[in-house]
């Protein structure tokens, strides 16, 4: 009986820490549903547009250069670096299987990083394109 309670507690604990682990493709499908709501003419995501977004460099209103690749590097298979000099694990799920499996985490970082780089929020179309690009990397 005690054992049962123990394993039950363990299961609950595990479930609690990983509230909702999803496959990247499910995360992508969620963004497709949102994209359809945002724009009735939505067709599909494009890895090519995502690649362009990943590499695009713009001048921030602070006068500094800003891009996704600035922290995540020019190659999503490589580790990047934060402004506080901590290593960022690679973005491509083919090299880092943890990526794009936690919808809340993905959404949190899109919110922060789109604001940080583009000084606005990203559309669901842009988020899906970005994910499609990361998934296209073998």
């Amino acid at each position: 009986m005690n054992k049962m309670i123990n394993s039950l507690a363990l299961i609950l604990l595990l479930a609690g820490t990983n509230a909702y682990a999803a496959a990247p493709i499910e995360v992508l499908n969620d963004y497709a549903a949102t994209a359809r709501k945002e724009n009735s003419a939505f067709k599909e995501f494009s890895a090519q547009r995502g690649e362009a977004l990943y590499h695009a460099e713009r001048i921030h209103s602070k006068g500094t250069k800003a891009s996704c690749s600035g922290c995540h590097t020019g190659n999503p298979k490589n580790p990047g670096q934060t402004r506080a000099h901590k290593q960022i694990e690679p973005m491509a799920p083919s090299t880092n299987p943890q990526r794009l499996t936690d919808p809340a985490k993905v959404e949190k970082w899109f919110s922060r990083n789109c604001q940080d780089v583009l000084e606005r929020t990203c559309t669901a179309q842009e988020k899906g394109d970005f994910i499609a690009y990361l998934l296209s990397i073998k």
């Binding site: 934060t82 402004r83 506080a84 000099h85 901590k86 922060r112 604001q115």
Partner: protein
């Protein structure tokens, strides 16, 4: 033979005694290591961009100010949902330098003038004094980058261990 046994007994005795002394030190706040603390949300949310800074490194007023301005956190947007933000702030405050009972936290706390609320550990008078032998070009080495990167030189930083035996300055 008996002498060997005796030596062994003395050795065991002294090792256990040291263990007691150390444990005792810790209990009474004499230890130099910061006490172990943990909070899952703090760990996840405050370690993705940099070293996970021990709450005992800044006073309560500093954590309160920092946690109420996360959308503009050292030029970055580190904002959190209100529930997570509140939980982390309460955790930081409860273990802050002016609430902790260890000697190191007390020294940090005493080094900060009452009218100032530093947001950087690396700008407290205590930190500056402890690092006065580290020169400016060392801070700027590619593997270090800035004084905020504690883990670059103190491998035990995230566990609150800054002992000299565990300092390694990257080239």
């Amino acid at each position: 033979m008996t002498r060997k046994l005796l030596q062994l007994a003395v050795l065991i005795g002294s090792v256990t005694a040291t263990g007691w002394l150390l444990a005792d030190n810790h209990k009474h706040g004499e230890s130099k290591s910061l006490p172990p603390v943990s909070n899952a949300k703090w760990k996840t949310e405050c370690s993705s961009c940099h070293t996970l800074y021990h709450p005992g490194l800044l006073p309560e007023r500093s954590w309160r100010k920092m946690m109420s301005g996360l959308d503009q956190h050292f030029g970055e947007n580190a904002s959190l949902d209100p529930v997570t933000q509140k939980e982390i702030m309460e955790f930081l405050v409860a273990n802050s330098a002016d609430h902790a009972t260890n000697r190191r936290s007390a020294k940090i706390s005493q080094s900060i003038p009452a009218q100032s609320t530093p947001l950087r550990i690396s700008e407290t008078p205590w930190f500056v004094q402890k690092h006065d032998k580290v020169s400016t070009d060392v801070w700027k080495r590619p593997k270090i980058g800035s004084p905020a990167n504690c883990t670059a030189c103190h491998e035990g930083a995230e566990q609150g261990n800054f002992s000299e035996s565990r300092i390694k300055i990257p080239r």
